[in-house]
């Protein structure tokens, strides 16, 4: 699997390359923003590790250009600044994960594997129910073509509803599926989850079946 490493510090870049090679990946290292953008845009990578402070073109701009051109590979941002405003900007620009420097190499490799695992292993790429399309490769959703970013919990919830006969799932079933057990106050957590999901995908995708649980709306009204 080819990984693009964008890092201007030679020591850190080489160390990343060595660690990823040792972990069984093929790593390409580039040291500036323009080259990174070009490489990511033209070559086929499984994922990218992107430093934000880069010469020529900064990391966020590189990421935005990739996403604008439809390059969907997972991106893990590495940054020296590490403040929350930057983290939020990174995620909103389309990053999948974020790590602050200095980092522990084992953790970075583990997170990279996590990102790749989401992409791998799913054969059926997209399930479409009503207005909602669930991308089982990227674990993301879109509503009428508009991309919606999901947390793992939200993805698992939607995935469960998709695979239910009649697309209805009882609350205790959802709790067992999400948490492995069902406890009395899980209902509150699931309610909060649905509220937030509705805010993301729109109000008319998930309905509440009183006494039964939750369901996906099949027909677009």
């Amino acid at each position: 699997m080819r990984i693009l490493i964008v890092e201007d510090d030679p020591d850190v870049g080489d160390d990343l390359a060595a660690a990823l090679t040792q972990a069984g990946f093929v790593a390409d290292v580039v040291r500036d923003g323009s080259t990174a953008w070009f490489q990511g845009d033209t070559e086929d990578y499984a994922a990218a590790i992107l430093d934000l402070g880069l010469p020529q073109l900064d990391g966020l701009s590189v990421l935005r250009r990739w996403r604008a051109n439809g390059r969907g590979f997972p991106v893990l941002i590495l940054s020296a600044r590490g403040d929350w405003t930057e983290k939020v900007e990174g995620i909103q620009a389309g990053a999948d994960d974020y790590m602050a420097k200095p980092f522990v190499m084992e953790e970075l490799v583990a997170r990279l594997r996590g990102l790749l695992r989401r992409v791998a292993g799913h054969i059926s790429p997209t399930i479409t129910i009503g207005k909602l399309a669930l991308d089982t490769v990227r674990m993301a959703a879109s509503v009428e073509g508009r991309a919606v970013s999901l947390s793992p919990l939200e993805y698992r919830f939607l995935d469960l509803l998709c695979h239910q006969p009649g697309r209805v799932a009882a609350t205790h079933l959802i709790a067992e599926h999400l948490y492995g057990t069902c406890e009395s106050d899980d209902t509150n957590a699931i309610e909060a989850l649905v509220t937030r999901l509705r805010r993301k995908v729109g109000p008319d995708i998930i309905t509440t079946r009183r006494g039964l649980g939750y369901a996906l709306v099949e027909e677009s009204a």
């Binding site: 020296a80 929350w84 939020v88 200095p102 190499m105």
Partner: protein, 461 residues
């Protein structure tokens, strides 16, 4: 405080003491002058009165053949006839003398040549001890009724006791009046000094405010005389603020700049480990961890300090920032499987910069995600002109006795098991620096609830 120490340290005290002494000296000189003038005046009056009496004696005075003085008419005042009455006359030549009956068997001392002057033809006044233990005022002159014979020295004298009494009375009254005047003048000086120093008291109060809040400046409506001082102090405060800001930015830049080298050092450590130098690699890793913790603490401190000095707090869109922070946290391992229960009205604004609010909420929500079981509750509302945000989780929570420990910088409760860690103290610092309050609570359903409060700016109420 000893008086001398007080004077050494108080301009007020020194000015008042100086004024009191100067006024005392001036009044003393004035008083002595007045007494001298008065004394001269009454002595001259006495001399005139004696001269008038002498006019009765002088026309009938001549010298006989033996060279002794002879008086054909004598002064009429009865006191000249009563022995030791205090009023005397005497006419003397080298050959002999005649005198008033009041002198009895005594005589008046002759004036020296120097006192009488070269001609001796005008009256000369002098003080002298006289007979009968009297102090005397004596006037004396020399006449020469017969140019062929010796001149006569004529003296008229009066007891100076009544004059001395008059002078003493005058002295006492003058001293009393001058003391009263001294008191009034010193009081006036005190008032004047207080009024004069009042601008300095105000400057002192304003400087105190400046010390507590470096963003304050001294007001510019001070008297003309101290305006240059005020301008200089304000310029100094500006320069200091700029220096501080530069130093902080450099500290922050330095801290950020050190992170990449630390990452590079971590790379070296891994290489060393790969080559079998496990102990060296462990040591390097420990050093990196310490350096990183120090850097993070320094950055948090710098951020708090900058937030504290920010003059006009910006407005932060609470809902938008929470949304951003949650979108990051729900991608982390800890946050990925949690439900976020967000209840914040759209358009709610908090009186601090968006960056600071993101930092506070980031630390708190990330912290809550570490300990939550299923759910994180985030709510926001305005209560009595105060923006109130609550972040709660449904984890194990911490005992209320350990709340204060949790808020201490570096007080890591999670060292001793499940609890709430570093994020709290960083957030607490920043909340305080932005004029807010952070408090911890235990919601009835368990977990930990963090409450943030910021009073709204005046214009927003």
């Amino acid at each position: 405080m000893k008086p001398s120490a007080f004077l050494a340290r108080s301009i007020h005290g020194r000015l008042i003491l100086g004024a009191a002494l100067a006024i005392l000296l001036a009044l003393g000189i004035a008083g002595s002058g007045l007494v001298w003038l008065f004394q001269r005046h009454i002595e001259q009056r006495e001399a005139f009165s004696l001269e008038a009496k002498a006019k009765e004696l002088l026309p009938g005075l001549h010298v006989d053949a033996a060279g002794k003085p002879v008086a054909e008419t004598r002064p009429s005042d009865g006191r000249f006839w009563r022995p030791a009455s205090g009023l005397y006359w005497q006419a003397s030549t080298p050959a002999g003398a005649i005198h008033s009956r009041s002198l009895w068997d005594q005589s008046l001392a002759l004036p020296s040549e120097v006192t009488l002057g070269t001609t001796g033809e005008s009256w000369h006044l002098r003080h002298s001890d006289g007979p009968f233990r009297h102090g005397l005022i004596i006037i004396a002159r020399q006449i020469r009724p017969d140019p062929a014979r010796a001149p006569i020295i004529v003296q008229f004298a009066t007891d100076d006791q009544p004059l001395a009494m008059l002078l003493d009375e005058f002295r006492l009254e003058t001293a009393l009046a001058l003391c009263l005047l001294w008191l009034v003048l010193v009081l006036a000086a005190v008032v004047q000094i207080r009024l004069g120093l009042r601008p300095f008291r105000r400057v002192g109060a304003e400087l105190d405010r400046l010390r507590r809040n470096p963003a304050e400046r001294l007001s510019t409506d001070h008297p003309r005389e101290i305006a240059p001082l005020i301008e200089a102090i304000n310029a100094l405060a500006d320069a200091r603020a700029a220096d501080l800001e530069r130093a902080r930015r450099r500290a922050a830049d330095l801290a950020h700049g050190l992170k990449t080298p630390l990452a590079a050092l971590a790379a070296q450590s891994r290489r060393a480990r790969a080559e079998g130098a496990t102990q060296a690699a462990d040591a390097i890793d420990r050093t990196i961890a310490v350096a990183q913790a120090t850097l993070e603490a320094e950055l948090a401190r710098a951020r708090s300090a900058i937030a504290r000095e920010r003059e006009a707090p910006a407005q932060a869109d609470v809902a938008q920032i929470i949304e951003g922070v949650v979108s990051v946290v729900e991608r982390t391992d800890a946050g990925g499987m949690l439900a976020f229960d967000i209840d914040v009205p759209v358009g709610l604004e908090a009186p601090l910069s968006p960056g600071d609010l993101a930092e506070i909420l980031g630390a708190l929500i990330e912290n809550a995600a570490k300990y939550a079981r299923r759910r994180i509750m985030i709510s926001g509302r305005v209560e009595a002109s105060t923006v109130v945000l609550r972040i709660g989780d449904d984890g194990l929570g911490i005992d209320s006795e350990r709340f204060s420990q949790a808020l201490l910088r570096g007080g890591r409760l999670d060292e001793s098991g499940p609890g709430h860690g570093m994020g709290l103290s960083i957030a607490a610092d920043l909340v305080m620096a932005t004029g807010g309050m952070l408090s911890l609570g235990q919601p009835p359903l368990g977990g930990l609830s963090v409450e943030l409060r910021w009073p709204m700016a005046e214009g927003e109420r």
